[in-house]
């Protein structure tokens, strides 16, 4: 039986909602919790993941017919590590302050489950175009959620968004929102809200 090729719009939309890596698949939790203290680092992390996902999906898709089953994870990791190193060097060269803020979490993209997952589930089984669309959809889905989390935490922790004061003067900043506890609570509430909206019971 011939496999039906997935439609482009469905592949793109999957990353944004139905298979959103953070909200639906709960992948990439380490950067999701660690770098969302504010919008800027969240956005930088999201863009870095989009770059790595885009490049690794292209490479994996192009070499998919040459991959030996027992070497495929090794090949994925090799490709991902290369592009993560390039992203890390770029940030250190052109965004040194943001690179210092993100610290070890940029090199840790190498072990980000989202990228391995998309290489295994999509790029190694589909053509170049579908793999690129999948990378963009998943990357944007991941980045948007990170920015929402970062926005909520920055707003409540400092009263600012993008370092611009938006809360009234009587607002007392919640220091806890900058700490891990703030990340867990915010993510938990967002996941609860998503489950409530989608009617997911188990």
């Amino acid at each position: 039986m011939e496999n039906k090729a997935p439609s482009i719009s469905k592949v793109f939309a999957a990353g944004l909602w139905q298979e959103n890596p953070v909200l639906r698949l709960l992948l990439g939790m380490c950067p999701t919790l660690a770098v969302t203290t504010a919008v800027k680092p969240a956005l930088t992390m999201g863009l870095s993941v989009i770059f790595v996902l885009f490049c690794s999906n292209i490479v994996v898709s192009l070499m998919r017919n040459l991959l030996k089953p027992h070497l495929r994870i090794l090949m994925f990791t090799l490709a991902i590590a290369t592009f993560v190193t390039i992203a890390d060097l770029f940030l250190r060269a052109f965004q040194p302050e943001m690179s210092a803020v993100l610290g070890p979490y940029v090199p840790l993209i190498i072990v980000n489950c989202i990228i391995i997952c998309r290489a295994e589930a999509c790029a190694s089984k589909n053509g170049l175009f579908i793999s690129i669309i999948d990378a963009i959809g998943m990357g944007i889905g991941f980045t948007v959620v990170l920015c929402i989390l970062g926005g909520i935490r920055e707003l409540l922790a400092t009263g600012m968004i993008f370092e611009i004061k938006v809360m009234p003067s009587f607002f007392v900043p919640w220091a806890a929102m900058r700490m891990p506890v703030g990340a867990f609570i915010t993510l938990g509430l967002i996941l609860g809200l998503v489950n409530f909206v989608t009617g997911k019971k188990t």
Partner: protein, 202 residues
């Protein structure tokens, strides 16, 4: 034997070729951006030193000075001589490091030309807890070091932070980070004083 070699090549040629290709890509990227990364580090250090001793010109007078951090740990640091616009010596700056609450804390410490008083410190890198330990970069804590004697410092939990002496009042809720900074000073001040005096005597 030849059959075995052929088998191994068949199985691994893609991995070997990819390793070379990706390695080359990283090497080229690194060669292109490394000068900029190094320049960023120098700029950051210069900015921090200029905050501590403004309007001075800096000259590296000692490189890789070994400092015993205790427990068999040795750190290396460069010493910079600050020259005021009138040509007189304005003091010395050197890098310093030690274990913080979450990770290594790296400081730039400035001392006066007579090696009697501390001129202050700036934080080169730290991953201390947001909202608590990261207040070591704030003025409340840093101001206590400005013009403090270049002797062994001690940390107190209560006291008047306006009195400048060798007693440093800890940051409330960040005793470990406060202790870490004081320990870094205590590890470096005496040893650096000796090394700089030896250099002066040459």
């Amino acid at each position: 034997m030849l059959k075995a070699i052929k088998h191994y090549i068949e199985q691994s040629w893609l991995l070997i070729v990819s390793s070379f290709a990706f390695g080359l890509l990283i090497a080229i990227t690194n060669a292109a951006w490394q000068p900029r990364i190094e320049q960023n580090k120098i700029n950051k250090l210069n900015n921090l030193m200029n905050e501590l001793i403004p309007n001075a010109k800096y000259e590296c007078i000692m490189t890789d000075v070994q400092v015993d951090l205790g427990k068999g740990k040795i750190a290396k640091s460069n010493v910079y001589k600050a020259t005021a616009p009138d040509g007189n010596s304005a003091g010395f700056c050197f890098g310093a490091q030690g274990a913080g609450f979450a990770d290594k804390i790296e400081l730039v410490i400035a001392v006066d030309a007579a090696l009697e008083k501390i001129k202050g410190y700036s934080v080169l890198s730290s991953n201390e807890t947001p909202g608590f330990g990261d207040r070591i970069v704030g003025d409340y804590f840093r101001h206590q070091f400005i013009n403090a004697p270049m002797t062994n410092l001690s940390l107190t939990k209560k006291g008047d932070d306006k009195i400048i002496d060798n007693n440093i009042v800890a940051i409330s809720g960040a005793t470990v980070s406060s202790t870490a900074v004081v320990n870094i000073f205590n590890n470096y001040l005496d040893q650096m004083k000796k090394k700089i005096n030896e250099k002066k005597a040459e």
